[in-house]
């Protein structure tokens, strides 16, 4: 194959954290930070929507699901461009590329969180809700103290899997020249010119270790018996 990985050894720090020492967070560090930020945002938004769908009137549920599906009917790349070009037009301020990507990712993924969370709630045995109501709890109390905690615990593996997707999607920040891992790898490639195989294969390997590791963790978590299942 004739691969020479010294180029990786020369640039490993740049790939890992970009120009962070100079004050501009980048590289794998930026990738993980963006994924975490987008992950938390999409989780909050998705679960909030799921709550509204579950407790609210049917028309609201239909509207929320339709909106979520509409965003997902369009390429994520396009959603990123929308946020990047439209927010300045609406709010008269320029926002950094990384923030655009985080918002776009969070918005896009919140639909997946919504569907997953609803599925998790629906998978709970109906008896739990009825038992709660029978002992005098209100619908809201039944939801927050009985259904939601169980559903969330069962859903942890699914959320971890969504987070792994998030990590992969941060690579699209490349299109806005945000210096996360894919961009830094591309910069190294442009600078060095003759080592694309070593650079991109290594970058792929880094993502692989991260995402495969998360997927493996998700599987391990999923094998715990789900709460609420009959013995």
């Amino acid at each position: 194959m004739g691969l020479d990985f010294t180029v990786i050894l020369k640039n490993w720090d740049y790939l890992l954290w970009g120009r962070t020492p100079q004050g501009e967070v980048g590289g794998l560090l930026l990738t993980v930070l963006m994924a975490l930020a987008a992950g938390f945002l999409s989780l909050a938004l998705g679960i909030a929507m799921a709550l509204a769908c579950w407790m609210g009137p049917r028309p609201l549920r239909r509207a929320l699901i339709a909106m979520a599906d509409l965003v997902r009917s369009v390429p994520l790349v396009l959603v990123i461009f929308w946020i990047y070009f439209l927010v300045p037009a609406l709010f008269r301020t320029q926002i950094p590329g990384a923030l655009s990507v985080i918002v776009a990712l969070a918005w896009f993924s919140s639909g997946a969180v919504l569907h997953t969370t609803l599925a998790g709630l629906e998978a709970l045995p109906r008896g739990h809700r009825e038992a709660g109501l029978a002992s005098g709890l209100s619908e809201g109390q039944v939801f927050t103290s009985i259904l939601l905690p169980q559903a969330l615990r069962n859903l942890v593996p699914s959320y971890v899997a969504l987070f792994a997707s998030m990590i992969k999607d941060t690579s699209l920040a490349f299109i806005l020249n945000v210096p996360e891992l894919t961009m830094t790898a591309s910069q190294v490639n442009t600078r060095e010119q003759i080592y694309p195989a070593e650079i991109f294969l290594t970058t792929g390997a880094v993502y692989f270790v991260l995402c495969a590791g998360l997927a493996w963790a998700a599987q391990g978590l999923a094998h715990r018996r789900p709460l609420g299942a009959a013995r």
């Binding site: 009917s73 369009v74 390429p75 396009l78 461009f81 929308w82 070009f85 991109f200 995402c211």
Partner: protein, 237 residues
């Protein structure tokens, strides 16, 4: 905020957008065909009696699922293309007027080939997973019935198991093809002049960001609807 639709729906911008649409459609079709072949192949390989084959298949699937599509496209574009034999590279970089899409995009060029192959392989893996799930839901008695009649492994798969697997997994399978169409947008990063790329071109040409992206969005939505209708029509056939 005043919208200037004529800035986008006439002259060069309109041409560019339509050219981009044509390229997106072409990539989607070619990648879709590749994905279908890859999915069936992976499913067949996973049924192989040879353990090394099954292991290798799982390894490849894991590799493709757990790396970003963008990185895979870059690997195919920068690394894959560079390592092709010179003769093939020459064919790919030459002009082929009969195989050129609107906007001077050559069907044999490295951008198109890397995009179609990269996206096709990626979705092929996910499609294979859905097919496998559909297969697992087929009653075990079906395999026995086929065996008892003397069917070989390939005939059993094609005539008895796959049709039922497809019925079981129809919604997710349609979803994957729609996904494929949306993922072609990522190919703008390797220079393929598809719809998203052209929308950016329009934006940098006359700064009509909203109108350009709105037009692109509507075209993607329309394309998605057409694709979904077409796939459902296939089911009825």
């Amino acid at each position: 905020m005043a919208f200037d639709w004529s800035g986008v729906l006439s002259g060069h911008p309109l041409h560019w957008l339509l050219q981009g649409l044509a390229v997106t459609i072409a990539v989607t079709l070619v990648a879709g065909a590749i994905a279908t072949v890859v999915a069936v192949l992976l499913t067949a390989l996973r049924l192989s009696p040879l353990a090394p084959v099954r292991l290798a298949t799982r390894a490849v699937v894991s590799l493709i699922r757990n790396t970003p599509l963008l990185i895979q496209l870059m690997v195919w574009y920068f690394v894959g293309f560079a390592r092709l034999p010179q003769a093939i590279k020459d064919v790919m970089t030459r002009d082929h007027p009969w195989a050129t899409l609107p906007g001077q995009v050559s069907l044999a060029g490295p951008e198109f080939v890397a995009a179609a192959w990269g996206v096709g392989l990626f979705i092929g893996v996910f499609l294979g997973e859905e097919l496998q799930a559909g297969l697992n839901a087929v009653a075990p008695g079906q395999r026995e019935a086929a065996a008892s009649q003397g069917f070989g492994a390939w005939d059993t798969l094609v005539a008895i198991l796959l049709p039922q697997a497809l019925r079981n997994a129809y919604e997710p399978v349609v979803g994957q093809y729609l996904n494929l169409m949306k993922l072609t947008a990522i190919a703008c990063s390797i220079g393929l002049a598809e719809l998203t790329y052209q929308a950016r071109q329009v934006e940098s040409f006359n700064s009509h960001a909203f109108e350009a992206f709105a037009a692109a969005t509507l075209l993607y939505l329309g394309l998605g609807l057409v694709l979904e209708r077409a796939l459902r029509a296939v089911r009825r056939a």
